[in-house]
Assembly symmetry: C2
Homo-oligomer: 216 residues x 2
Amino acid sequence: LAETRAERRLAAILAADVAGYSRLMGRDEEGTLSQLKAHRRELIDTKIAEHRGRIVKTTGDGILVEFPSAVDAVRCAVDVQRHMAERNSPVPQDRRIEFRIGINVGDVIVENGDIFGDGVNIAARLEGIAEPGGICLSRSAYEQVKGKIDDSFIDGGEQQLKNIARGFDGGGGSDGVAMVALTSPRSINPLEESGRSPDWIKVKNPDAPAATRVIE
Amino acid sequence: LAETRAERRLAAILAADVAGYSRLMGRDEEGTLSQLKAHRRELIDTKIAEHRGRIVKTTGDGILVEFPSAVDAVRCAVDVQRHMAERNSPVPQDRRIEFRIGINVGDVIVENGDIFGDGVNIAARLEGIAEPGGICLSRSAYEQVKGKIDDSFIDGGEQQLKNIARGFDGGGGSDGVAMVALTSPRSINPLEESGRSPDWIKVKNPDAPAATRVIE
Protein backbone atom coordinates (compact mmCIF):
# COMPACT_ATOMS: atom_id res chain seq x y z
CA LEU A 1 0.00 0.00 0.00
CA ALA A 2 2.71 2.45 1.00
CA GLU A 3 4.41 1.84 -2.36
CA THR A 4 1.48 3.30 -4.32
CA ARG A 5 1.23 6.37 -2.12
CA ALA A 6 2.48 9.78 -3.14
CA GLU A 7 6.01 10.63 -2.11
CA ARG A 8 5.90 13.31 0.55
CA ARG A 9 8.52 15.37 2.30
CA LEU A 10 8.72 18.23 4.75
CA ALA A 11 10.10 21.30 3.05
CA ALA A 12 10.41 25.02 3.51
CA ILE A 13 8.70 26.55 0.49
CA LEU A 14 9.73 30.02 -0.64
CA ALA A 15 7.59 31.89 -3.16
CA ALA A 16 8.72 35.24 -4.51
CA ASP A 17 7.53 37.67 -7.13
CA VAL A 18 8.20 41.22 -8.26
CA ALA A 19 5.95 43.89 -6.77
CA GLY A 20 4.29 45.99 -9.50
CA TYR A 21 5.67 43.80 -12.29
CA SER A 22 2.98 44.76 -14.83
CA ARG A 23 3.53 48.45 -14.15
CA LEU A 24 7.32 48.05 -14.58
CA MET A 25 6.87 46.03 -17.77
CA GLY A 26 4.33 48.51 -19.15
CA ARG A 27 6.84 51.28 -18.65
CA ASP A 28 10.01 49.58 -19.90
CA GLU A 29 9.71 45.98 -21.02
CA GLU A 30 13.26 45.29 -22.15
CA GLY A 31 14.89 47.25 -19.35
CA THR A 32 12.82 45.48 -16.69
CA LEU A 33 13.57 42.04 -18.11
CA SER A 34 17.28 42.71 -18.34
CA GLN A 35 17.37 44.10 -14.78
CA LEU A 36 15.46 41.07 -13.50
CA LYS A 37 17.87 38.72 -15.27
CA ALA A 38 20.84 40.52 -13.75
CA HIS A 39 19.39 40.26 -10.23
CA ARG A 40 18.73 36.55 -10.76
CA ARG A 41 22.21 35.86 -12.15
CA GLU A 42 24.29 38.07 -9.87
CA LEU A 43 22.42 37.68 -6.59
CA ILE A 44 19.38 35.44 -6.27
CA ASP A 45 20.47 32.17 -7.88
CA THR A 46 23.79 32.33 -6.01
CA LYS A 47 22.10 32.91 -2.65
CA ILE A 48 19.63 30.09 -3.24
CA ALA A 49 22.46 27.67 -4.04
CA GLU A 50 24.49 28.90 -1.06
CA HIS A 51 21.58 28.11 1.28
CA ARG A 52 20.96 24.71 -0.34
CA GLY A 53 17.72 25.72 -2.03
CA ARG A 54 16.37 24.13 -5.20
CA ILE A 55 14.52 26.20 -7.80
CA VAL A 56 11.33 24.25 -8.54
CA LYS A 57 9.98 26.59 -11.21
CA THR A 58 10.02 30.13 -12.46
CA THR A 59 7.32 32.21 -14.10
CA GLY A 60 7.73 35.64 -15.70
CA ASP A 61 8.45 37.44 -12.44
CA GLY A 62 7.95 34.61 -9.96
CA ILE A 63 10.08 31.90 -8.48
CA LEU A 64 9.25 28.87 -6.35
CA VAL A 65 12.09 27.43 -4.28
CA GLU A 66 12.28 24.42 -1.99
CA PHE A 67 14.69 24.27 0.96
CA PRO A 68 15.37 21.23 3.15
CA SER A 69 15.61 23.61 6.16
CA ALA A 70 13.34 26.49 7.24
CA VAL A 71 16.30 28.20 8.91
CA ASP A 72 18.20 28.16 5.62
CA ALA A 73 15.14 29.43 3.70
CA VAL A 74 14.70 32.42 6.02
CA ARG A 75 18.43 33.20 6.04
CA CYS A 76 18.38 33.14 2.24
CA ALA A 77 15.35 35.45 2.07
CA VAL A 78 16.85 37.96 4.51
CA ASP A 79 20.14 37.85 2.63
CA VAL A 80 18.44 38.46 -0.73
CA GLN A 81 16.24 41.30 0.57
CA ARG A 82 19.20 43.04 2.23
CA HIS A 83 21.26 42.87 -0.95
CA MET A 84 18.31 43.93 -3.11
CA ALA A 85 17.92 47.03 -0.93
CA GLU A 86 21.57 47.90 -1.58
CA ARG A 87 21.25 47.26 -5.30
CA ASN A 88 18.10 49.40 -5.43
CA SER A 89 19.41 52.39 -3.48
CA PRO A 90 20.80 54.26 -6.54
CA VAL A 91 17.70 53.42 -8.66
CA PRO A 92 14.73 55.84 -8.78
CA GLN A 93 11.85 54.53 -6.63
CA ASP A 94 9.47 53.92 -9.54
CA ARG A 95 12.00 51.82 -11.46
CA ARG A 96 13.06 49.52 -8.63
CA ILE A 97 12.59 45.78 -8.83
CA GLU A 98 11.45 44.79 -5.37
CA PHE A 99 10.61 41.24 -4.37
CA ARG A 100 7.82 40.10 -2.08
CA ILE A 101 8.68 36.80 -0.39
CA GLY A 102 6.45 34.26 1.36
CA ILE A 103 7.83 31.27 3.29
CA ASN A 104 5.88 28.29 4.63
CA VAL A 105 6.72 24.85 6.00
CA GLY A 106 4.69 22.04 4.52
CA ASP A 107 4.53 18.28 4.06
CA VAL A 108 4.43 18.49 0.29
CA ILE A 109 3.83 15.90 -2.41
CA VAL A 110 6.80 15.44 -4.73
CA GLU A 111 6.31 14.33 -8.33
CA ASN A 112 8.86 14.53 -11.12
CA GLY A 113 10.71 17.30 -9.36
CA ASP A 114 7.60 19.43 -8.88
CA ILE A 115 5.94 20.00 -5.49
CA PHE A 116 2.21 20.11 -4.71
CA GLY A 117 -0.15 20.62 -1.79
CA ASP A 118 -1.59 23.30 0.44
CA GLY A 119 1.92 23.90 1.79
CA VAL A 120 2.79 25.37 -1.62
CA ASN A 121 -0.47 27.30 -2.00
CA ILE A 122 -0.01 28.96 1.40
CA ALA A 123 3.53 30.08 0.51
CA ALA A 124 2.10 31.80 -2.59
CA ARG A 125 -0.62 33.48 -0.52
CA LEU A 126 1.94 34.75 1.99
CA GLU A 127 4.03 36.16 -0.84
CA GLY A 128 0.92 38.06 -2.00
CA ILE A 129 0.56 39.83 1.33
CA ALA A 130 4.26 40.55 1.90
CA GLU A 131 5.24 44.14 1.35
CA PRO A 132 7.75 45.00 -1.41
CA GLY A 133 11.22 44.19 -0.04
CA GLY A 134 9.66 42.24 2.86
CA ILE A 135 9.15 38.64 3.90
CA CYS A 136 6.02 36.99 5.24
CA LEU A 137 6.32 33.78 7.27
CA SER A 138 3.61 31.33 8.21
CA ARG A 139 3.41 30.37 11.84
CA SER A 140 4.73 26.92 11.01
CA ALA A 141 7.79 28.48 9.36
CA TYR A 142 8.29 31.01 12.14
CA GLU A 143 8.15 28.32 14.80
CA GLN A 144 11.01 26.45 13.14
CA VAL A 145 13.27 29.51 13.00
CA LYS A 146 12.57 31.44 16.20
CA GLY A 147 15.64 31.53 18.40
CA LYS A 148 17.73 30.12 15.53
CA ILE A 149 18.22 33.18 13.35
CA ASP A 150 19.13 36.78 13.99
CA ASP A 151 15.57 38.06 13.92
CA SER A 152 16.28 41.57 15.09
CA PHE A 153 14.94 42.58 11.68
CA ILE A 154 11.44 41.56 12.72
CA ASP A 155 9.54 44.76 13.06
CA GLY A 156 6.66 45.80 15.28
CA GLY A 157 3.10 46.33 14.29
CA GLU A 158 -0.46 45.49 14.90
CA GLN A 159 -2.49 42.32 14.68
CA GLN A 160 -5.18 41.60 12.19
CA LEU A 161 -7.29 38.58 11.30
CA LYS A 162 -7.51 37.18 7.81
CA ASN A 163 -8.56 33.97 6.18
CA ILE A 164 -6.42 31.68 4.11
CA ALA A 165 -8.49 29.03 2.39
CA ARG A 166 -7.15 25.52 2.68
CA GLY A 167 -5.53 24.11 -0.45
CA PHE A 168 -6.88 21.34 -2.62
CA ASP A 169 -5.50 18.53 -0.51
CA GLY A 170 -6.45 20.14 2.79
CA GLY A 171 -9.50 19.35 4.83
CA GLY A 172 -11.65 21.92 3.09
CA GLY A 173 -13.05 25.03 4.69
CA SER A 174 -10.80 27.80 5.89
CA ASP A 175 -8.58 28.44 8.87
CA GLY A 176 -8.60 31.58 10.91
CA VAL A 177 -5.12 33.05 10.72
CA ALA A 178 -3.68 36.07 12.43
CA MET A 179 -1.23 38.53 11.00
CA VAL A 180 1.30 39.76 13.48
CA ALA A 181 4.38 41.88 13.14
CA LEU A 182 6.72 42.10 16.08
CA THR A 183 9.03 44.68 17.57
CA SER A 184 11.20 41.94 19.03
CA PRO A 185 11.23 38.15 19.36
CA ARG A 186 10.20 38.56 23.00
CA SER A 187 6.97 40.31 22.18
CA ILE A 188 5.53 37.13 20.71
CA ASN A 189 5.23 35.48 24.10
CA PRO A 190 2.43 37.59 25.58
CA LEU A 191 0.43 36.94 22.43
CA GLU A 192 1.01 33.20 22.58
CA GLU A 193 0.30 33.02 26.27
CA SER A 194 -2.90 34.96 25.88
CA GLY A 195 -3.93 32.32 23.36
CA ARG A 196 -3.86 34.72 20.43
CA SER A 197 -1.21 32.66 18.73
CA PRO A 198 -0.35 34.11 15.32
CA ASP A 199 -0.62 31.99 12.21
CA TRP A 200 1.75 34.08 10.24
CA ILE A 201 4.36 36.71 10.88
CA LYS A 202 5.00 39.64 8.61
CA VAL A 203 8.60 40.67 8.43
CA LYS A 204 8.98 44.27 7.38
CA ASN A 205 11.46 45.46 4.81
CA PRO A 206 14.57 45.69 7.01
CA ASP A 207 15.84 48.71 5.15
CA ALA A 208 12.65 50.69 4.87
CA PRO A 209 12.72 54.11 6.55
CA ALA A 210 10.99 54.00 9.95
CA ALA A 211 8.14 56.18 8.69
CA THR A 212 7.03 53.54 6.19
CA ARG A 213 7.05 50.66 8.65
CA VAL A 214 3.56 51.02 10.04
CA ILE A 215 1.31 48.18 8.97
CA GLU A 216 -2.13 49.30 7.89
CA LEU B 1 29.96 31.61 5.72
CA ALA B 2 27.13 29.26 4.81
CA GLU B 3 29.72 26.51 4.25
CA THR B 4 30.80 26.48 7.90
CA ARG B 5 27.24 26.40 9.20
CA ALA B 6 25.60 23.29 10.57
CA GLU B 7 23.65 21.21 8.10
CA ARG B 8 19.97 21.48 8.91
CA ARG B 9 16.86 19.80 7.62
CA LEU B 10 13.18 19.63 8.38
CA ALA B 11 12.25 16.21 9.66
CA ALA B 12 9.48 14.40 11.47
CA ILE B 13 11.10 12.94 14.57
CA LEU B 14 9.56 9.86 16.15
CA ALA B 15 10.67 8.79 19.63
CA ALA B 16 9.34 5.58 21.15
CA ASP B 17 10.00 3.58 24.28
CA VAL B 18 8.46 0.69 26.17
CA ALA B 19 6.06 1.64 28.97
CA GLY B 20 7.10 0.02 32.28
CA TYR B 21 10.32 -1.37 30.83
CA SER B 22 12.13 -1.62 34.20
CA ARG B 23 9.19 -3.47 35.71
CA LEU B 24 9.07 -5.90 32.76
CA MET B 25 12.82 -6.44 32.89
CA GLY B 26 12.75 -6.90 36.68
CA ARG B 27 10.18 -9.59 36.25
CA ASP B 28 11.63 -11.48 33.26
CA GLU B 29 14.77 -10.10 31.73
CA GLU B 30 15.43 -12.65 29.00
CA GLY B 31 11.79 -13.08 28.07
CA THR B 32 11.27 -9.30 27.78
CA LEU B 33 14.38 -8.85 25.64
CA SER B 34 13.44 -11.67 23.31
CA GLN B 35 9.86 -10.38 22.97
CA LEU B 36 11.16 -6.90 22.24
CA LYS B 37 13.56 -8.23 19.60
CA ALA B 38 10.72 -10.15 17.96
CA HIS B 39 8.50 -7.04 17.81
CA ARG B 40 11.37 -5.06 16.32
CA ARG B 41 12.23 -7.70 13.73
CA GLU B 42 8.73 -8.82 12.75
CA LEU B 43 6.85 -5.52 12.90
CA ILE B 44 8.59 -2.28 13.79
CA ASP B 45 11.67 -2.24 11.56
CA THR B 46 9.56 -3.33 8.58
CA LYS B 47 6.97 -0.61 9.16
CA ILE B 48 9.66 2.04 9.56
CA ALA B 49 11.27 1.02 6.26
CA GLU B 50 7.86 0.85 4.54
CA HIS B 51 7.15 4.47 5.55
CA ARG B 52 10.63 5.64 4.53
CA GLY B 53 11.88 6.18 8.07
CA ARG B 54 15.52 5.98 9.13
CA ILE B 55 16.49 4.60 12.53
CA VAL B 56 18.86 7.18 14.02
CA LYS B 57 19.63 5.28 17.21
CA THR B 58 18.31 2.73 19.64
CA THR B 59 18.73 2.42 23.38
CA GLY B 60 17.68 -0.52 25.56
CA ASP B 61 13.97 0.02 25.07
CA GLY B 62 13.99 3.22 23.05
CA ILE B 63 14.20 4.11 19.40
CA LEU B 64 14.67 7.41 17.60
CA VAL B 65 13.51 7.55 13.99
CA GLU B 66 13.66 10.32 11.40
CA PHE B 67 11.10 10.58 8.58
CA PRO B 68 11.25 12.98 5.62
CA SER B 69 7.45 13.37 5.91
CA ALA B 70 5.22 13.98 8.96
CA VAL B 71 2.35 12.22 7.22
CA ASP B 72 4.49 9.10 6.78
CA ALA B 73 5.69 9.27 10.41
CA VAL B 74 2.13 9.39 11.78
CA ARG B 75 0.93 6.67 9.42
CA CYS B 76 3.83 4.49 10.57
CA ALA B 77 3.05 5.14 14.27
CA VAL B 78 -0.64 4.34 13.85
CA ASP B 79 0.24 1.21 11.88
CA VAL B 80 2.68 0.01 14.56
CA GLN B 81 0.30 0.72 17.46
CA ARG B 82 -2.59 -1.06 15.73
CA HIS B 83 -0.47 -4.14 15.06
CA MET B 84 1.02 -4.09 18.57
CA ALA B 85 -2.50 -4.13 20.00
CA GLU B 86 -3.24 -7.27 17.96
CA ARG B 87 0.01 -8.92 18.98
CA ASN B 88 -0.66 -8.08 22.63
CA SER B 89 -4.25 -9.27 22.77
CA PRO B 90 -3.40 -12.90 23.77
CA VAL B 91 -0.70 -11.73 26.26
CA PRO B 92 -1.61 -11.16 29.93
CA GLN B 93 -1.88 -7.41 30.67
CA ASP B 94 1.15 -7.29 33.00
CA ARG B 95 3.46 -8.95 30.46
CA ARG B 96 2.59 -6.80 27.47
CA ILE B 97 5.20 -4.74 25.69
CA GLU B 98 3.43 -1.49 24.91
CA PHE B 99 5.09 1.43 23.18
CA ARG B 100 4.60 5.11 23.90
CA ILE B 101 5.26 7.24 20.83
CA GLY B 102 5.98 10.96 20.48
CA ILE B 103 6.17 12.73 17.11
CA ASN B 104 7.41 16.25 16.44
CA VAL B 105 8.41 18.27 13.37
CA GLY B 106 11.68 20.14 13.71
CA ASP B 107 14.42 21.87 11.78
CA VAL B 108 17.15 19.61 13.14
CA ILE B 109 20.93 19.76 12.92
CA VAL B 110 22.42 16.75 11.13
CA GLU B 111 25.93 15.52 11.95
CA ASN B 112 27.42 12.16 11.02
CA GLY B 113 23.99 10.61 10.70
CA ASP B 114 22.85 11.78 14.13
CA ILE B 115 20.25 14.53 14.66
CA PHE B 116 20.29 17.29 17.28
CA GLY B 117 18.21 20.21 18.46
CA ASP B 118 15.11 21.05 20.43
CA GLY B 119 13.05 19.33 17.74
CA VAL B 120 14.53 16.04 18.98
CA ASN B 121 14.17 16.89 22.66
CA ILE B 122 10.50 17.75 22.24
CA ALA B 123 9.80 14.42 20.51
CA ALA B 124 11.29 12.64 23.54
CA ARG B 125 9.17 14.74 25.91
CA LEU B 126 6.01 13.93 23.97
CA GLU B 127 6.85 10.23 24.09
CA GLY B 128 7.11 10.56 27.88
CA ILE B 129 3.55 11.84 28.18
CA ALA B 130 1.98 9.47 25.63
CA GLU B 131 -0.08 6.70 27.14
CA PRO B 132 1.00 3.06 26.59
CA GLY B 133 -0.16 2.07 23.11
CA GLY B 134 -0.81 5.74 22.25
CA ILE B 135 0.79 8.50 20.23
CA CYS B 136 1.42 12.11 21.19
CA LEU B 137 1.86 14.73 18.48
CA SER B 138 3.22 18.24 18.80
CA ARG B 139 1.13 20.98 17.26
CA SER B 140 3.72 21.42 14.52
CA ALA B 141 3.38 17.71 13.65
CA TYR B 142 -0.40 17.74 13.87
CA GLU B 143 -0.66 20.76 11.60
CA GLN B 144 1.24 18.92 8.87
CA VAL B 145 -1.02 15.87 9.00
CA LYS B 146 -4.50 17.19 9.66
CA GLY B 147 -6.78 16.49 6.73
CA LYS B 148 -4.12 14.19 5.23
CA ILE B 149 -4.52 11.07 7.34
CA ASP B 150 -7.44 9.04 8.55
CA ASP B 151 -7.54 10.61 11.98
CA SER B 152 -10.79 9.07 13.13
CA PHE B 153 -8.63 7.42 15.82
CA ILE B 154 -8.12 10.80 17.47
CA ASP B 155 -10.09 10.60 20.64
CA GLY B 156 -11.91 13.21 22.67
CA GLY B 157 -10.90 14.67 25.97
CA GLU B 158 -10.17 17.74 27.91
CA GLN B 159 -7.58 20.45 27.62
CA GLN B 160 -4.79 21.08 30.01
CA LEU B 161 -1.82 23.42 30.11
CA LYS B 162 1.72 22.21 30.60
CA ASN B 163 5.20 23.55 30.06
CA ILE B 164 7.85 22.12 27.81
CA ALA B 165 11.20 23.81 28.34
CA ARG B 166 12.98 24.83 25.17
CA GLY B 167 15.90 22.63 24.11
CA PHE B 168 19.55 23.61 24.15
CA ASP B 169 19.53 25.35 20.81
CA GLY B 170 16.19 27.05 21.39
CA GLY B 171 15.71 30.60 22.49
CA GLY B 172 15.72 29.73 26.19
CA GLY B 173 12.79 30.05 28.53
CA SER B 174 9.72 27.90 28.13
CA ASP B 175 6.68 27.82 25.90
CA GLY B 176 3.16 27.44 27.12
CA VAL B 177 1.73 24.33 25.51
CA ALA B 178 -1.71 22.87 25.67
CA MET B 179 -2.66 19.23 25.71
CA VAL B 180 -5.75 18.43 23.72
CA ALA B 181 -7.42 15.20 22.77
CA LEU B 182 -10.17 15.31 20.20
CA THR B 183 -13.34 13.41 19.55
CA SER B 184 -13.16 14.17 15.87
CA PRO B 185 -11.06 16.23 13.46
CA ARG B 186 -13.86 18.81 13.33
CA SER B 187 -13.75 19.52 17.03
CA ILE B 188 -10.36 21.19 16.71
CA ASN B 189 -11.81 24.14 14.84
CA PRO B 190 -13.76 25.77 17.67
CA LEU B 191 -10.62 25.56 19.81
CA GLU B 192 -8.46 27.17 17.16
CA GLU B 193 -10.99 29.84 16.39
CA SER B 194 -11.35 30.72 20.03
CA GLY B 195 -7.58 31.25 20.04
CA ARG B 196 -6.91 28.31 22.35
CA SER B 197 -4.76 26.66 19.75
CA PRO B 198 -3.22 23.45 21.11
CA ASP B 199 0.52 22.94 21.09
CA TRP B 200 0.24 19.20 21.15
CA ILE B 201 -2.36 16.60 20.52
CA LYS B 202 -2.62 13.38 22.45
CA VAL B 203 -3.79 10.47 20.39
CA LYS B 204 -5.36 7.79 22.52
CA ASN B 205 -4.66 4.11 22.14
CA PRO B 206 -6.98 3.33 19.21
CA ASP B 207 -7.76 -0.11 20.59
CA ALA B 208 -8.34 0.79 24.21
CA PRO B 209 -11.85 -0.01 25.48
CA ALA B 210 -14.02 3.09 25.55
CA ALA B 211 -14.15 3.09 29.34
CA THR B 212 -10.41 3.69 29.64
CA ARG B 213 -10.31 6.54 27.12
CA VAL B 214 -11.08 9.43 29.43
CA ILE B 215 -8.10 11.68 29.92
CA GLU B 216 -7.63 12.80 33.50
